[in-house]
Symmetry: D2
Subunit: 344 residues, 4 copies
């Protein structure tokens, strides 16, 4: 096969990094992947950290070094690392001629005010790098992603909200005088693998909690991608007692009274060519189980009797369409391969 | 002790009925309770259905009959029955001189349009009975409950929403031009003990789903109790993969920009005398675990930077404060006992 | 591709039937599958019952009829049906020249005493049919399966126990004077999709229970396959609060004091050619998560200081290696395809 | 009330310590409790760590000091601390004239070989202290506990196993030539509140795993209390995906063929006076849900057709009868109060 590349994955021991490693292993256009563990890990192979992949041929893990990247002739580097790490690694990766897909939040936001939440120290280099970065939503920016060298892979919550609202925001159907309420619920893997009292089993099981209210990092992505006024957007994350999956319930007012069939048509038309967004036939609503372990974002809706109060329900797997799957989808777009290659 | 009564519980084999039986057993003012099983059950004792209460003295279960009620000299009858059953039993219970606390939705709604959702056949008797009925929210209608013979115990979702919003609705602080969004999440026991594909373990576990969107029965209670326009209320229930507990995230706009301290003060003042509502100190938010197996409704809030976008988070145990506990609280109020007697 | 067949699946709406339908859809040697729903179901497409598979091309479901089987030119019929149904359908299927893989317990047991537990009415036809049936454990009976027309796909619990013990039983390493204790734990999908108080979410969550002690149907399979005395086998199933997965902890005494390395070698040697059994390197033990959604049976062990007390831990996904996956594996063996074809 | 004491709880921020603080708060013979937090905690009140207890009167937490213990005039000190800490604190507490109930494993084992697993440095003082210590199983050592100053509160697994086997071991009914297999399953709170990858929600949910096979610390307790040969005891702990509760399935051979009625009678007779052990009527088996949040150990059994193969199923709440509840029960026995005082 002419068209094969070599990938690197930094942070392969984290939840998203591991899913990425698994997906790349089966991808027909990826000849090999070199995996780098997160700093705190000591496992020599990915099989040690995730025995579920044992198949007699252990996958080696390396401590990250640029030398190793060069030696392995990596074409494309995936970063499943904290944003501070990505902030450091990305410019150097680009300098060395690599393509980069970064799964952290470091390079997603263009607006200076929004970016402050990450507390990253900016420089001439970072400013220049940021200009190169494309927000990795293939449904919204496919054409730009195709030519780009740096893709900032979207946040999991942000993906579920942005994909549900985009058809209405981009077609200017939303009543801008009403609040847009995004009540989002996520499984625990969204919080990552590092230890915290908040992810101790006993604290999460039998529980539900809201967190980061009026202050979650993904807010900026939603604002920038949809062109909504911060004044009108409310985004509330909740922690669900399940390992993975996101369900976002999104409340928005339409400018005009609209028939359900028209709402469905708006959604279907917007995602007509898409391979990773499924529109549920009205009045069926997606549930978290439906999209688990797939690269789908499922969208359904309910409409108030006035034809204006619209409730969108959007589900995805935070580790696949919300992270590793979307990253692979971005790779496919960058290289001009079929968008869902390696994802079904 | 001079002040002791005898209680009857119809539907003691259901989840709420069982919790009621447990609470009454420990109540110092209840000399005895006679328990009636639901029609489809054949257990001779409550211990058969719920071995957790075994203590060497099995609690007998009876098939319901008015003769048994008379024979046992029941003073107060609790109905933990489907609304159709309550619709039949309540007028007859009142005719026989009993006090009644009904846990179903049959007698909660005064507005004819709202009541239609229950599809109950009305009659001269039902009209007269409905006039006697008080909505059993001790925090809102304590004085009326005290003198009443028929208390319609509130719905679980409705309780969590009404108690959170009441301080703002009753003090006319809510911007009536903005939607009030109630995004509510409940554990599975709220759906009752009857079998349904929707409560099969495999369908609920690892999942989250929205249901009855724009059509849940508790909507009418919220509207009637708070005096909100149906046009402005959105109430979306979700099914959580946990056995019990409700968390409601409620989005409302205040008329005026307000300080967080003032919001907290509004809540504290409204519930100053209450023994069953806990206001969480800002910015702490209640979680489902906090109120499980208690008669508390826990309320906390977050306030947007504009001082107007208010998010209320309200939690309770759907079987206690959302059903059996509130029913006991109503009994306490009816008889003039301490409001939390038998509930701590 | 020359070698392609057409499959039928009866009972495609059950949990195992659905997994089977999903696996067959991706199998390179299966040109098409015709799906029959269980009697109580009315869904016209599999997508209605399982929205997770929606992809724009709904999979039709049929009411079962032999006419449809003929019309669709089915080569191989999978039965994911209750044993009573399989008892009826299998002889007729064979008579019509079909190959059959039955996932029920109807045709697994050769010993008359063991078979009684299924309460099936035997006849000349059933006796003749039973003679044709092969117990579908590819690891133990691969050669016989290859030439057979009727495969009785093993029980989920039985598979986990038999595969762990076979290397020791077949090599006559087990102390026959000591009991063999199989303490097995299964997720809820093992109990099927039909409604029962035992699979209501509230009854299973936060719980664990033993059931069918000294009387589970899979006991006969273990006895027959391993040649153990009923007097020495103890098999206790437990219901876990998870949707899927089995972990069996199996206690056996070896005849001779043995080194851990030798125990591991015995396992590795026995499964040297196997593609669906993974031996965990001592002292690593498999967990339920490791084999979920795979066709692996994972086996690990611990050895007492005496070198005789052996504890085997065996895990598998009850719907894949314990049902649908093993059925596909059997199909592969029957047709001489690679054993794991369509299963990775 | 004449008979009131003051208690201290060291480690009140841990799971067992918190349950203890809750139980003591409601105990009629405890006038007050002074609570000490674990070293790593900084919370000023117990309400901060556990908002569920908020009631308007925050419970202060102190850093531990003997000065505070003296100042508060503590009569009885509970230690819910790691065994290393208990090893240090107990002798000094006794020296200061306090009674002590220690919930760690430090003082439970008399046999030197068994004790080695805790790696504690022994001294003349520790040897003398150990002589004073009583194993705090009120069902087995009630008389000795009554007069003692130091009670070593049993381990949670050990309690479930010892109480199930004691009636048979003490009456010499067990076949000593057969292995005793204890297959035990516990909820996650048994592993404590400290952070570990093993208790991260994502690692535990949807999973089951065996651990510490042939090497768990509670083994020594079972051996010493039942007088079983280490050669014949097998004890395998498993981690369940639930927050609390233990179910132990215990396999033992009786010397003589016995009727089920006789087995039940043996259990009932042994626990005739007990307030905290419930014998389930054969063939009903206890489940984890039955004893959650109670001080009961529930015991049921199944008997093989030979009348010799006996399977005991024993359930308890690891934080109550397995820790804090049993500690309170021990306090009651020490002071001659009703054994279940404050526990119902």
């Amino acid at each position: 096969m002419a068209d094969q590349i070599k990938c690197g994955v930094v942070g392969a021991t984290g939840y998203a990094g591991f899913e990425l490693a698994r997906l790349l292993r089966k991808h027909p256009n990826v000849s090999a992947s070199v995996l780098f563990r997160r700093g705190e890990h000591s496992a020599a192979t990915l099989d040690e950290a995730y025995p579920q992949i044992m198949n007699g041929q252990p996958t080696p893990l390396h401590a990250f070094s640029w030398e190793q990247v060069e030696k392995e002739k990596v074409d494309l580097l995936f970063l499943a690392t904290p944003h501070e790490t990505s902030w450091e690694l990305v410019p150097e990766g680009l300098r060395r001629g690599l393509k980069v897909i970064d799964l952290s939040g470091a390079w997603r936001l263009k607006d200076e005010a929004n970016r402050k939440i990450y507390k990253l120290v900016e420089s001439a280099v970072s400013v220049a790098t940021l200009k190169q970065s494309v927000y990795g939503s293939p449904e919204l920016h496919g054409a730009t992603i195709r030519g780009s060298k740096l893709v900032a892979n979207p946040g999991c919550y942000a993906t579920s909200v942005i994909l549900a609202l985009a058809p209405f925001a981009k077609n200017d159907l939303i009543d801008r005088h009403a609040d847009i309420v995004c009540d989002c619920k996520s499984g625990v893997s969204g919080a990552g693998k590092q230890l915290s009292p908040k992810t101790h089993f006993v604290e999460v099981a039998e529980n539900l909690s809201a967190y980061s209210v009026f202050g979650h990092r993904h807010t900026g992505e939603i604002l920038e991608q949809l062109g909504i006024s911060a004044e009108r957007l409310i985004f509330t994350p909740h922690l669900l007692p399940i390992p993975r999956g996101i369900l976002s319930t999104i409340y928005v007012r339409l400018k005009e009274a609209t028939a359900a069939a028209t709402v469905e048509e708006t959604l279907r038309k917007f995602y007509a060519g898409s391979t990773s967004v499924r529109i549920f036939p009205h009045p069926l609503l997606p549930q978290i189980q439906h999209s688990l372990r797939t690269n789908y974002c499922d969208i359904g809706f309910a409409l108030g009797p006035d034809g204006k109060k619209l409730i969108l329900v959007s589900c995805l797997d935070n580790l696949i369409k919300g992270a590793a799957g979307q990253a692979v989808q971005n790779m496919n777009v960058m290289y001009g391969w079929a968008e869902q290659e390696g994802l079904n």
